[in-house]
Symmetry: C2
């Protein structure tokens, strides 16, 4: 029995997971987290209308979802002000990032991202043989000039940028993004990850032409809409570019209940306004807790607060670990200089109470190690 | 604004969909189907326990699913009698087929399948640059000897086989499959699609060693379990082969509600027994309707009946179209000689009543064209 041989590219890849899930930590510790505020999920949950639609649509679970996600795309396109053909639905932004990389990045092609930005994007680039160039954050923001320079120097095919940014919570003004796009090097495109766009302040959402084939914008129902478990993301851009996804996507990959739930979410804008208020209040409270404990919260345009623990990555990691020991799940940025921080997701008061209770002891424990 | 350039492989691919969904036909006709019996979904729906879990789990929709699908894999592995590491979960068999092709098929590699077998598999092979060799069905079964000979002659990396078979509903005995595996050419592996295995007669499910790295078995909750809209499939096989999926799969692709629903489905085996009885009775009735109208039903080991319309593909297509005109959605095999047939999915009596009512008129209309 000769072992089948993986492709030369696959042979070079590690078996890896971009993120360890909180469930894996819970299994290892044999203890459920009392506050799950580490994955930037919306602990406030989805709209009651979404929950109602999920219950109602369960009777349709036996049917494959519409492979065209027609109604959902119609609704999204109406909101954006574009044609349905300019929108593609996928199994979360994760899947859409994978498709975009597969469409454009071949073995040896260069791709530019920020050091410490989204690991799942990096996973996809590596998975298709692309060569990653990582530009450090500057002043806790993605370094636009650095990204452009690296793309120019490497003749990169693609730049990845999230705005607002994860994991730092920072953002660039619309004009900065618009200017960046105007200056994209020849042959280079931009994947603009707007997972947190619903939390962005006025003036931080660029006004982009859908005639520009060099930009693909990606958004999700996983954050503000509170539907991370349902796996619905969308990408939009120039029609022919979006049509490219039809060549490779998993046409029957969408969950039928999720399609219905996303449509219900769009149709409840008042809920989104409520969530924005709740998240802003929670982020404000998390910031105060940080200051009360001698940490410095960074400004946030997202549903999380990244806080500077005031020392090195080792100390931040020790605080993180000590919070885990106290049944509080949070995460931290992966790379310097952001990894002096920990990152806390906005949540109802009960979860934030637990964080507030756990933090002083966690800091004490972390200091005892150092 | 220079248009970004797709990879050389992607440039060769058409924007296509392996199947047109029934919703697309409904939109074109501006008319909802009265019987949706064309996609081999389980019109009987899922277990009431699954529906209950879907409703209960909707409160967890804000959380990402466990990227390891730990509990579901544990339950499946216990049923199979293997280690959890020998099982991988995916967004339907469609996604798992895509992953398997990506792992093993590179540009120019040969892959063998039956002519008229699963188009989504073919879509994935083309999508990764593989070269498809199609072996005609023989006696309305997949031609094992022909598949082996084609693989040998082409030095193929992979053979695709579904057992029981879609779209013909036929099957091979376990010993035939076991013998086929023993005779796989050097360097060739088998993707064994067992989407319909829960309907297979005694003796048609091979007993395969999980030590053999050349075979990957794939199963689904979309057919017997009535959960097509929830997108849960699984593959199992030798540990190191299955571990390969960790290199490329969308780790956070699984819907959290679907994970819970699949677990509930496994824990309700009595429901599966009921479904088997209901499907057998419905297939029997569909067969009688076929005979009453001068058609010849083929033996079926699945939840559908493929019936020989007694003439050529043009006639079968005309019958199909005439059924559509009567608001009945069915499909037909894509390639000769199977495309002299139409394929009807088992369903509750209401749907089959509508088919029985529509068929005589549809045949008359089809004959009037010819």
């Amino acid at each position: 029995m000769t072992r089948p041989v993986e492709t030369p590219l696959v042979q070079t890849l590690p078996a890896t997971v971009p993120f360890v899930g909180p469930e894996a930590i819970e299994r290892r510790r044999a203890q459920i987290f009392k506050a799950r505020i580490g994955a930037n999920e919306s602990v406030f949950g989805p709209s009651p209308r979404v929950l109602q639609v999920l219950r109602d649509a369960s009777a349709e679970a036996w049917m494959y979802g519409d492979p065209e996600s027609y109604e959902l795309r119609e609704a999204l396109a109406a909101g954006i002000g574009c044609a349905r053909e300019a929108v593609v639905i996928g199994e979360g932004i994760d899947a859409l990032l994978g498709y975009a990389v597969r469409l454009y990045v071949g073995a040896g092609d260069h791709v530019v991202t920020s050091d410490g930005a989204y690991p799942t994007f990096n996973y996809h680039v590596a998975g298709y043989g692309g060569s990653l160039i990582k530009v450090p954050y500057r002043d806790d923001k993605e370094d636009i000039e650095g990204l452009l320079a690296a793309a120019e120097a490497s003749k990169a095919k693609m730049i990845y940028l999230s705005n607002p940014d994860n994991p730092m919570g920072s953002w660039h003004e619309a004009s900065v993004i618009e200017d960046m796009i105007a200056r994209l090097p020849f042959g280079c495109m931009l994947l603009l990850d707007e997972a947190y766009v619903e939390f962005a302040p006025d003036g931080a959402v660029p006004n982009l032409s859908l005639d520009d084939p060099r930009v693909i914008r990606m958004r999700t129902f996983s954050k503000a809409y509170g539907m991370a478990g349902l796996r619905v993301g969308y990408a939009y851009g120039e029609g022919q570019v979006i049509r490219g996804f039809e060549k490779i996507r998993n046409h029957f990959g969408m969950n039928r209940l999720s399609q219905a739930a996303a449509l219900a979410a769009i149709n409840d804008p008042a809920w989104l306004d409520d969530i924005r208020r709740l998240v802003a209040a929670s982020c404000s409270r998390i910031g105060q807790i940080a200051r009360d404990n001698g940490f410095s919260p960074l400004p946030s345009a997202t549903n999380f607060v990244t806080m500077d623990c005031g020392a090195d990555a080792g100390f931040a990691r020790a605080v993180l670990q000590a919070l885990e020991d106290r049944d509080v799940f949070v995460r931290m940025p992966f790379a310097a200089p952001g990894n002096r921080c920990i990152r806390i997701t906005a949540a109802p008061d009960g979860e934030i109470d637990r964080f507030a209770e756990a933090l002083p002891g966690a800091i004490k424990a972390a200091k005892a190690i150092g």
